[in-house]
């Protein structure tokens, strides 16, 4: 085996000291500029759509929006990368389809006549234990809810709505920029979704608004997740959103996926954030989300805490598994080297 055959110049003596940047040697990638231009244009179009047509929020619209973004991001890439993208899109679609079907089935359509009792009091009792006998949704609405929309209604409404877009945007950006990181994110995300579906089935839980307005266990609760949005001029979205509530599973409250996703995105990027104050600021987002959910009567506090625990468990599980795989491969390599 000759090193010279590999292009190694043993005879030349000294190495070249003038090191040329790669950009001077490798030709400019025109298609990369095309991709960036397309993605920026798509982003501007998305903002326009959001402003004048309403927020893209339902599963199918979000999937389509994501697909168009990925087409922009993959222009000029290899057939292999397109094939990998096709496989990923299929898996992504199956994941959401399974989630929607299971979530729907949990609403009383389980096979073989299997039913699980609706939990009306359980989550409330845990909340009352944690908060010394208070129902936090009732307390918050008693102090903060007014007929006119206040600034914090807008903040809470915006925070609530981010659930429908933040995670898909993160998925899209990771997909386009770093497939390895996308895989890491999706493993954690799918695990949370899977366990949540199982809990939706075995533990259908009435949210605070249902406990109040249908079962009259607690004082009346106003529902208004979209009213802050309406006040900001996004009426088209709110109209669509209310239609969608007729199709959702109203008793899929435990755990809160709003809370889980709100923690998942910051938690995933936390190791890349340097300043401690910024880490703390980023982690305020899931707290703000849970506060908004409780204020709107959409979730009990315990729903959110279980959602966070699921995220923690998913990150711990996959972190441990990925570490174990690295250790095994490293040990295999060392053994072969010995």
């Amino acid at each position: 085996m000759s090193l010279l055959a590999d292009g190694v110049d043993l005879e030349s003596g000294s190495a070249t000291r003038d090191r040329r940047p790669l950009r001077e040697i490798v030709p400019f990638d025109v298609l990369r500029s095309t991709r960036i231009t397309l993605m920026i244009s798509y982003g501007i179009f998305g903002i326009w759509w959001f402003k004048y047509r309403g927020m893209v929020w339902d599963r199918i619209s979000v999937a389509l929006a994501l697909f168009i973004f990925l087409v922009c991001a993959f222009v000029g890439r290899s057939w292999r990368q397109w094939a990998i993208l096709g496989r990923d899109v299929a898996l992504y679609s199956v994941m959401w389809l399974a989630y929607e079907i299971t979530r729907g089935a949990a609403d009383g359509d389980l096979p073989f006549g299997i039913t699980f009792p609706l939990q009306v009091q359980a989550a409330r009792n845990i909340d009352r234990f944690m908060f010394l006998g208070h129902d936090m949704s009732v307390v918050l609405q008693h102090h903060l809810w007014h007929t006119d929309v206040r600034w914090y209604d807008k903040v809470a409404s915006c925070t609530y709505m981010t659930h429908f877009v933040v995670a898909p945007i993160v998925m899209g950006v990771l997909w386009a920029t770093n497939h390895r990181e996308w895989v890491r994110f999706m493993k954690r995300f799918a695990t949370v979704l899977l366990v949540s579906c199982a809990l939706f089935i075995v533990m259908p839980t009435a949210p605070p608004w249902m406990t109040a307005n249908r079962y009259h266990v607690i004082d009346h609760i106003q529902r208004g997740t979209g009213r802050g949005f309406s006040a900001m001029g996004f009426t088209a979205f709110v109209g669509d959103y209310h239609n969608s509530l007729d199709w959702g599973n109203a008793v899929a409250a435990m755990p809160s996926l709003h809370s889980a996703f709100a923690l998942m995105v910051p938690a995933f990027f936390l190791p890349r954030i340097g300043p401690v104050w910024l880490k703390v600021l980023v982690l305020c987002f899931p707290v703000l989300m849970l506060t908004s959910l409780v204020y709107f009567g959409e979730h009990w506090v315990i729903d959110g805490l279980v959602g966070w625990a699921l995220v923690g468990g998913s990150f711990a599980f996959w972190g441990r598994r990925e570490r174990r795989v690295r250790e095994l491969r490293a040990a295999t390599a060392r053994t072969a080297l010995a």
């Binding site: 590999d6 190694v8 000291r17 040697i25 490798v26 491969r329 295999t332 080297l337």
Partner: protein
């Protein structure tokens, strides 16, 4: 968190695989360090698919930590435009991959990489830049 990437070049892989290779020990020492860093998630090891094809029998043993980097037609077309003195087809493809896949460093014994502004791992591990190259090649 994404670890930096290191590409194992063909010269490095051949030295690592060949126990009779004059630089095998140097390659093995450098690779042990890389594997230690890989285990701590401080580096991602990559190698070109066409280079790994020559060492298929080591994929599940010595090269278990190494991820495959597929060379696409786009990379080969871009490599055709790489200018002299880097216009050797194999070298040119590697340079294209280094830039387009944003690879941070390369493990190689090929001196031509000393002329490129890219971190060369075995050299940098034992001294920096050209002096390190001199030391390594000196044995």
């Amino acid at each position: 968190m994404t670890a930096p990437t290191t590409l194992l070049d063909r010269s490095f892989l051949l030295a690592l695989a060949g126990r009779e290779h004059p630089w095998h020990d140097v390659a093995a020492d450098a690779y042990r360090e890389l594997v230690d860093r890989y285990e701590c998630n401080r580096v991602i090891l990559l190698a070109r698919d066409d280079h790994l094809a020559e060492l298929q029998q080591l994929r599940s043993s010595m090269l278990a930590p190494v991820e495959v980097l597929h060379v696409a037609a786009q990379h080969r077309h871009a490599a055709d435009e790489v200018l002299a003195p880097f216009d050797d087809p194999d070298l040119a493809v590697t340079l294209v991959l280094l830039r387009r896949e944003k690879i941070c460093s390369i493990a190689t014994f090929d001196r031509r990489f000393a002329a490129v502004d890219v971190d060369v791992v075995p050299l940098d591990a034992r001294g920096s830049g050209a002096d390190g190259a001199q030391h390594l090649i000196g044995g």
